[in-house]
């Protein structure tokens, strides 16, 4: 068991099934839930949730006689014990292993996705962008990054209410997902801020694609529950592009797109602004004019 679940602070509860001598399930379920809750609180101050860099770790085992998998699943959803895994003390482990597998998939999805919109989250976005920047530089190919920000989102929240704001966010996410190509990444990287990573797209292609996207968003009137008049939504976008000729950090590339976004906002919103292509800005050291050359030009060959 340790070989499959030995990472970090993942915890495990073991229970044998079908033991008739125990307390009624509902009572037992509440007790188990409370016990694990207390344990979780106690562990929270000590244990690290990230297991990336950690080699040490414990699997905490507690045997609950008579507890079935379906009962455990109820406890898990009541107490949100998604990180807690269960294995059977006897019998066929397959349903339990399938449960662990599903849980792992759910957790993996949660670490990469925004729960409201289902888009990639900021963490997934940054990781993906880093990889794509490296790929672009290695292969000398183009890569574009668009950062989009909903216009006047605070007003929407203030006048229409937050549930309506959420619906607007979902509508924009839907537009992004419907618009992107298979190998593009769409992510929600802030409250009302989205990003599109477009591998292989240059400034021209990315701009015309973004123009279509902004048009779609403009035309998509969002109808909120219990509100007669639909919400008009517009987006501003900052676009940055590299030709893969220089090595760019995620921070620098994002900064370029951010500044362009700021410009789009300052110019009146609902539009795209483009950042200068960083590959075209750098001046190579080998071509600077040296002191002796300058001296020659200033005074001629005689000095």
């Amino acid at each position: 068991m340790t070989s499959t679940l030995s990472s970090g602070t993942t915890s495990c509860t073991i229970m044998p099934e079908n033991n008739p001598k125990l307390a009624p399930p509902s009572l037992q379920r509440r007790e188990i839930l409370e016990e694990i809750s207390r344990l979780r609180e106690a562990l929270q101050s000590k244990a690290r949730y990230s297991v990336d860099s950690c080699r040490d770790g414990l699997i905490i085992v507690r045997l609950f006689e008579g507890l079935t998998l379906s009962e455990w699943e109820e406890i898990m959803s009541d107490g949100q014990f998604l990180h807690w895994l269960a294995l059977p003390a006897s019998g066929d482990p397959t349903p339990h292993l399938a449960r662990i597998q599903r849980t792992l998939e759910e957790l993996a999805h949660q670490t990469r996705h925004d729960p409201l919109t289902g888009l990639g989250n900021r963490r997934a976005f940054e990781k993906h962008l880093k990889m794509e920047l490296e790929r672009a530089f290695r292969s000398g190919s183009t890569l574009s990054l668009a950062i989009l920000d909903l216009d006047n989102f605070k007003t929407i929240n203030d006048t229409r209410g937050h549930p309506c704001g959420d619906q607007v966010l979902k509508a924009v996410s839907g537009a992004l997902l419907g618009h992107k190509r298979m190998y593009d990444l769409a992510a929600r990287i802030g409250g009302e801020e989205f990003a599109l990573v477009l591998p292989g797209s240059g400034l021209v292609q990315a701009e015309s694609s973004l123009e279509r996207l902004l048009e779609q968003i403009r035309e998509r009137n969002v109808v909120c529950d219990g509100q007669a008049d639909p919400v008009r939504v517009t987006c501003s976008a900052g676009l940055a592009c590299t030709k893969g000729r220089i090595q760019l950090s995620v921070e620098r590339f994002m900064d370029l797109a951010d500044k362009a976004l700021y410009e789009a906002k300052a110019r009146g919103k609902d539009q795209i602004a483009k950042a200068p292509i960083p590959d075209l800005l750098e001046t190579p050291q080998a071509t600077l004019v040296h002191a002796q050359e300058k001296q020659f030009l200033f005074t001629g060959p005689d000095t």
Binding site: G202, P276, P284, F296
Partner: protein, 275 residues
């Protein structure tokens, strides 16, 4: 080899460069164009001076469209090009289309160059008025033309900045042919000294033999013509600077005649290279 010529009207593309702003580059570009136009040559001036689009001001025209529009489908050259003088002196504002031009992928670039070369083939000369300095956009555009004029003044800083342009183009883009114009010269001797210094430095440090097209003298008529938004040669054809520019134009015309067969065999613009 195909016998069909790529550039049947042997259009000569010229870029006008300077290391430093304020050396009279745009003014020279316009007046050279005007002088050649007066000699019955069909001229197109393209303003690539990103951020400092002065040609329209000097000409007193206000363009509505630019190069970027020309790249769009369905737009014809006549929609975009502005006639400055009837029958052969046109102007194309190009500044705001350049990053896109450099950005195009192989297919897009072929398409745009096809379109551009067709447009440019209508003219005898195409003059690129480029921004000052050694920005990559400027350098890439300078590589595209078949001739390069570098404008300097006798001021030492203009000379070092001009030298920097030559050095980058040579080291980064393997460009080896430059013609120098010394503008705002006090007298012929000062102009010659200026060119000799630049020539000497290029020979010694870059192993490069640059050419001297000539000098344009300081002239009080220049600022006056600028103020009136009229080409100097039109405003004061007899003045010293006008005469200087006319003789530069004659040299360029002679040069084109000499290399005509060579020009026919090559596309008007070389494909863009990024250093």
């Amino acid at each position: 080899m195909s016998q069909e010529s790529v550039n049947p009207s042997s259009t000569l593309s010229i870029s006008i460069l300077s290391g430093k702003g304020g050396v009279g580059k745009t003014n020279l570009a316009l007046n050279l164009a005007y002088a050649l136009y007066k000699a019955n040559q069909k001229m197109l001036v393209m303003d690539f001076d990103v951020g400092l689009a002065n040609v329209d001001v000097l000409l007193g025209v206000s363009p509505e469209k630019n190069l970027q529009d020309l790249l769009k489908t369905g737009v014809t050259p006549s929609d975009v090009v502005i006639p400055v003088e009837p029958g052969g002196f046109d102007f194309l504002p190009a500044a705001s289309g350049v990053p896109e031009l450099l950005e195009l992928d192989e297919d897009g670039r072929d398409q745009v160059f096809g379109k551009l070369n067709t447009v440019l083939g209508e003219y005898d000369y195409v003059i690129f008025d480029l921004g000052a300095g050694i920005g990559k956009t400027v350098l890439s555009l300078a590589c595209m033309t078949r001739m390069r004029l570098l404008v300097v003044t006798p001021e030492p800083t203009s000379l070092t900045d001009g030298y920097a342009v030559i050095k980058v183009l040579k080291n980064q883009h393997q460009v080896k042919d430059f013609l120098v114009v010394v503008n705002q010269a006090g007298n012929a001797k000062e102009a010659q000294t200026t060119f000799d210094r630049l020539h000497g430095a290029c020979e010694r440090f870059l192993d490069l033999d640059i050419g001297y097209l000539g000098a344009v003298h300081n002239d009080p008529n220049v600022p006056e013509a600028v103020r009136r938004q009229v080409p100097l040669i039109k405003y004061a054809p007899q003045c010293r600077a006008s005469q200087d520019i006319l003789s530069l134009a004659i040299k360029i015309g002679r040069h084109r005649a000499e290399i005509r067969s060579h020009l026919k065999a090559k596309s008007i613009l070389k494909k863009i290279t990024l250093g």
